[in-house]
């Protein structure tokens, strides 16, 4: 099908879809006139029931805890899948490198890559990172880690939680990459540790869920004493689940970023 005909076909379909959307959305209550029974009920009882002041996290890690476990496993599986996909690429690069003797200088569309990290490092002249970026990056790493840990551990009180804080922690790793060189990233990024963090995050969630069973109730039952609303140690398992999710997310995104960075270096870019 030619490009023009495909676009024309799409436009016809889009008009039809748009009309259906208008009909469907017009049936919803107007924006600002929310009256969902579930949402209104939960916000009335959640603080008294769970002692956590961030109701979004009460929903995420308690009332809908099983869904969040599925969500966490999606992330886990995707990170593993991505690692498998990209490591296969890396294997191909190595093989072709042996065949062609690593002569290529990189940069072309069908470049086969420049071999493994070991041989690429000494040969390749990295483009120097500007001093500003390096200083700003190094200054940012510490605060980012602190902020990440804060967001992960205070999810039950204020906006935040494991998913958000985990992203910030992974971002700290990326700042190291921006500020320095691949060598530095390789040093602060022990891949086995990242993988262990990821596995602990995924396994820990299930383990806390089983803790609910052991306490004589349901899977993911909030079996820890709930504490006083507003304290750091409140909300029972919400804080614990948030922390393991933080581990999982930080691990998964670090893994994803590392794999992409490795690809970039293999395919002929600098730092």
């Amino acid at each position: 099908m030619t490009r023009r005909r495909r676009t024309a076909l799409f436009l016809v379909a889009a008009v039809a879809l748009g009309l259906l959307l208008v009909v469907a959305l017009a049936g919803l209550p107007g924006v600002g006139h929310y009256h969902g029974v579930y949402g209104l009920g939960i916000q009335r009882i959640a603080v008294a029931q769970r002692k956590a002041t961030d109701i979004v996290n009460s929903v995420t890690f308690d009332y809908r805890g099983v869904d969040t476990m599925g969500e966490e496993f999606i992330l886990f599986t995707a990170a593993i899948g991505l690692a498998i996909l990209l490591r296969e690429l890396r294997g191909e690069s190595r093989n072709s490198d042996e065949e062609e003797g690593g002569e290529e200088k990189g940069g072309e569309e069908d470049d086969e890559g420049d071999g493994s990290e070991g041989s690429a490092e000494p040969e390749r002249r990295h483009r120097a990172t500007s001093a500003t970026l390096r200083v700003a990056g190094q200054a940012l790493v510490g605060p980012l880690v602190v902020l990440g840990v804060y967001v992960v551990t205070h999810g039950q009180l204020t906006p935040g939680g494991g998913f958000q804080g985990g992203c910030i922690l992974a971002a700290a790793l990326f700042v190291v990459y921006l500020a320095g060189r691949y060598v530095a990233v390789a040093r602060v990024r022990p891949l086995p540790l990242i993988e262990v963090a990821e596995a602990l995050g995924a396994g820990g969630y299930a383990a806390i869920g089983i803790g609910g069973l052991i306490s004589g109730s349901d899977f993911l039952f909030n079996f820890v004493p709930l504490g006083t609303s507003g304290n750091l140690l409140s909300g029972g398992t919400i804080a614990a689940l948030s922390t393991v999710v933080g581990l999982e997310v930080a691990g998964a995104f670090s893994l994803v970023l590392s794999e992409f960075i490795d690809q970039r270096l293999l395919r002929g870019g600098g730092t």
Partner: protein, 114 residues
């Protein structure tokens, strides 16, 4: 009664889809898919919105305050996580496609396969 937020969601969905259909670059296509998914965030959040309400976090407001729906916010969180993973996986597939076909133009990949 305002429907502007719903209109934004519908617009994002359609314009993102348009981007996917007319894309000439796989990375561009992945980002357009992200625009399509962004429409679901707008839709979810605007469904849960209540006029004049605060965020559903009672750290410094009384528990009797009028707040927006926390359930759709939690759903949006799930949505964002799924989008991040989908984007990461698709970008990895783009790298694979580039490696295998030597091009990232979806049309050329289609014609190569025959």
């Amino acid at each position: 009664m305002s429907f502007l937020a719903y209109a934004v969601a519908a617009w994002l969905f359609l314009i993102g889809l348009y981007g996917v259909v007319t894309s000439r670059h796989l990375v561009h296509m992945v980002l357009c898919l992200g625009v399509v998914q962004a429409s679901t965030y707008v839709l979810l959040l605007s469904i849960g919105y209540r006029t004049g309400a605060k965020a559903p976090i009672f750290a410094d407001i009384p528990t009797s305050s009028r707040v927006v729906d926390p359930v759709v916010q939690a759903l949006t969180l799930t949505d964002v996580v799924v989008e991040a993973t989908v984007t990461a996986l698709l970008l990895a597939l783009v790298l694979q496609a580039q490696k295998r076909f030597g091009t990232v133009d979806p049309d050329e990949i289609g014609s190569l396969k025959g």
